[in-house]
């Protein structure tokens, strides 16, 4: 019996008054990796924003259960503390805040929420350095302000590092491959793969299927016009790569693509 972690039911949402998600359904169970693909403006970003609680998006219908709880009722920080992690497409720079302090404060906020003891600097360093080594990251980055002056590859790796340290139940990877060369992509992907676990689920959001060569999903969903129009295995991603989204968009408009 699979344990559902995320259940999105008939979710509709608007951004700036415009309807973007139109009755989307998606269930993600523990252990599973789901890829959500789609052309530009299909609703991929809106989905991540609604899931993480970003301001500026209004949910107009449906609901989202996260481990049985009403996800949309929680403020963003509580969603994070409950184990929802987003690897940002464009990680922001935070001048003046060192990685070390930032990540330690985040980890301790999460640990506190879970009733665990807060870690001191030494224990924290031990954990974080081990994870950095795994991702081939320079420990000096800990003394730099968050993402400030990081290269594109470093920023993406830094997202995966935070994921490794914060130990989420559900990780959403938003266009993690964008801006990465093939070597950096391999490192990031192997970092993600090492984090696959029985009690963890992942949603990989991507425009291209390239990333899915390295992070192999259990399911592939194609999102068009705010709805999932087709679900399949890895082969679906390959068809999209070969044929583009046109045929799916056409099917969606004709109403023949619903799974």
């Amino acid at each position: 019996m699979p344990t559902p972690i995320l259940e999105i039911r008939h979710l509709s949402a608007t951004a700036a008054g415009k309807e973007i998600l139109r009755g989307m359904n998606l269930t993600v169970n523990a252990r599973e990796v789901h890829a959500v693909m789609g052309p530009n403006a299909s609703g991929k970003s809106t989905l991540t924003h609604v899931l993480t609680g970003r301001e500026g998006y209004e949910v107009t219908g449906g609901d989202v259960r996260y481990q049985g709880k009403d996800l949309l009722a929680m403020p963003p920080e509580d969603r994070a503390r409950e184990g929802l992690f987003l690897a940002f497409q464009y990680p922001v720079e935070i001048p003046g805040m060192k990685m070390m302090q930032f990540l330690k404060a985040a980890l301790n906020a999460i640990r506190k929420h879970r009733g665990l003891e807060e870690l001191d600097a030494l224990d924290f360093l031990t954990i974080v350095k081990e994870k950095m080594q795994l991702l081939g990251m320079d420990p000096d980055l800990l003394n730099r302000p968050v993402n400030a002056g990081f290269s594109g590859g470093e920023k993406k790796r830094n997202e995966i590092l935070q994921m490794a340290v914060l130990d989420p139940t559900l990780a959403v990877l938003d266009e993690t491959d964008s801006g990465l060369d093939i070597d950096a992509l391999k490192i990031v992907a192997s970092g993600v793969n090492s984090l696959r676990r029985q009690d963890r689920a992942m949603i990989v959001i991507t425009h291209y299927q390239r990333l899915l060569n390295y992070i192999v999903p259990d399911y592939v969903h194609v999102l068009i016009d705010g709805r999932i129009v087709k679900t399949g295995g890895r082969e679906l991603a390959l068809s999209v790569e070969a044929q583009g989204y046109g045929w799916l968009e056409k099917q969606a408009r004709e109403g023949t693509a619903m799974p």
């Binding site: 609680g53 980890l107 906020a109």
Partner: protein
């Protein structure tokens, strides 16, 4: 706790030092004239030279006009509405803390500086200034054994008139500027500190200023003299109760460092900033200047400015002795409608003199924060160095950061570096932090404290902790 309750709590916590102590005060009528100055001087039982100096300053002040160049705005100040002298009535030169009015002591306890405890535990000698009269000076005797004089200014005038006469007004002359002239005419008390040759002051000296009576202007005067090969570290903290009127605070601080002497001067300024609409609050117009008179001498200013409706303040160093060093470390936080125009002047007169300026300005709400600095290296001052770092942080999009650095180098053998940045913390950064499990408030506090780290490091440990807490309290309710 429900979110609404929490927000209310935070809102009420905004300025937690806003209580008024109900002590009968002996006050002069409002207004300024030569009679008031004579009254102040007489009340203080001052020698003749003091009165003459005050009157000279007053007559000069009458010819001056308020400076208009600062990047601040306020309605005109009516100097005739201000009370220039106020003293708690029960006051009779206390010999020890036991003789101090218990109400006064309770006020200090509320401020978090239990004198008695500090006496025993912290090893801090506190010269507490309550309105215009110094109420309690602790540790004086212990310091006296090493020849250190640390007392109320009025006491110094009576007990050590020669020292006062010799040094007072030598760094900031009465004619220096409008507010310094006003201060010279009417100052009623302050702190005096003298460290003899070769003595390293064994404890942090600390003064707590507090404005209590309404409509009063607090004009205090601080003079610190460090003789050859001496060292002193001095801490100053300020708070004022909440009042709807604006109050004027125009202080003068003079530091004199002789050969190889070192003076560290730290301020945590938390005067009442006014409410969120800009009603009330202190006008903090202060002249602070140190002279590195001797070779290898050093003066460091560290300031954490979080209070006052308006701050106008430029702690400066005149680097006269060869190889002398001047430092300025500053954090200025402005929230709501606060305005700060602050910075420093480093005047290099001696050869191979060095100065460092680290300024961190933080603005939120509708506040305006200005850094104004001058680095001047004279022709004969060869081989000098200055390093300036001037960073501004904006929280939100309705506040302002402004920088006006001036650099004037008159020889080719000196080196000047200037580094500046302005960054904005907006919704994106806050959301990123929240997605990692931090509340918006914790995120802002972390960002701001990280931003100020270099400056806090310059403060003595307990002060650094207090400064950090203060910053967090002042930031509460400014985001979200």
């Amino acid at each position: 706790m429900a979110p609404t309750e929490r927000i209310r709590d935070l809102a009420e916590q905004e300025y937690k030092y806003g209580f008024v102590t109900d002590i009968e005060a002996e006050a002069a009528p409002p207004g300024l004239n030569e009679d008031i100055i004579r009254l102040i001087s007489a009340k203080k039982k001052e020698p003749e030279f003091m009165l003459e100096w005050r009157l000279k300053a007053y007559r000069h002040w009458l010819t001056m006009t308020e400076p208009q160049w600062a990047n601040v705005r306020h309605p005109p100040i009516n100097y005739q509405d201000i009370v220039y002298y106020s003293a708690p009535k029960t006051q009779k030169q206390p010999k020890s803390l036991n003789e101090v009015d218990p109400l006064l002591l309770a006020t200090y306890r509320k401020l978090g500086i239990p004198l008695r405890e500090q006496e025993v535990l912290a090893g801090v000698a506190v010269d507490a200034v309550f309105d215009s009269v110094s109420v309690a000076t602790t540790f004086k005797e212990q310091l006296a054994k090493q020849g250190i004089i640390f007392c109320a200014f009025s006491e110094a005038v009576q007990q050590h008139p020669d020292l006062v006469h010799k040094h007072l007004g030598t760094v900031v002359p009465y004619s220096d500027n409008f507010f310094a002239a006003l201060n010279t005419a009417v100052f009623s008390d302050g702190s005096f500190c003298y460290i003899p040759k070769g003595v390293r002051c064994p404890m942090e000296l600390s003064t707590y200023f507090r404005i209590n009576a309404p409509f009063i202007g607090q004009f205090e005067r601080t003079l610190i003299i460090a003789e050859e090969d001496s060292y002193v570290s001095y801490l100053e903290g300020c708070t004022a109760p909440m009042r709807s009127e604006h109050q004027l605070h125009a202080a003068v601080v003079e530091l004199r460092a002789h050969d190889r002497a070192q003076i560290r001067y730290a301020t945590v300024q938390n005067w009442y900033p006014g409410d969120s609409a800009g009603q009330g609050g202190i006008y903090n117009f202060v002249t602070k200047r140190g002279a590195c008179l001797g070779v290898d001498s050093k003066i460091s200013w560290t300031q954490v400015e979080v209070g006052s409706a308006i701050t106008w303040k430029y702690p400066s160093v005149i680097l006269q002795g060869n190889n002398s060093i001047g430092e300025f470390y500053s954090v200025a936080l402005t929230t709501h409608r606060q305005q700060a125009d602050t910075g420093t002047k480093m005047i290099h007169l001696g050869r191979n003199t060095k100065s460092t300026i680290v300024s961190k300005g933080i603005s939120t709400g509708f506040a305006q924060n200005t850094y104004r600095g001058l680095v001047k290296i004279l022709k004969k001052a060869s081989g000098c160095r200055n390093y300036t770092q001037c960073h501004s942080l904006l929280l939100g999009n309705r506040c302002g950061a402004h920088t006006f650095p001036s650099i004037d180098v008159q020889n080719a053998s000196s080196q000047v570096e200037h580094e500046a940045s302005t960054t904005r913390i907006g919704e994106d950064q806050i959301f990123y932090c929240r997605q990692r499990g931090l509340s918006a408030e914790d995120a802002v506090s972390l960002i701001v404290n990280g931003f100020c780290h270099d400056v806090f490091q310059q403060l003595p440990m307990e002060f650094a902790v207090e400064a950090q807490k203060l910053l967090n309290v002042r930031l509460e309710g400014t985001v979200g």
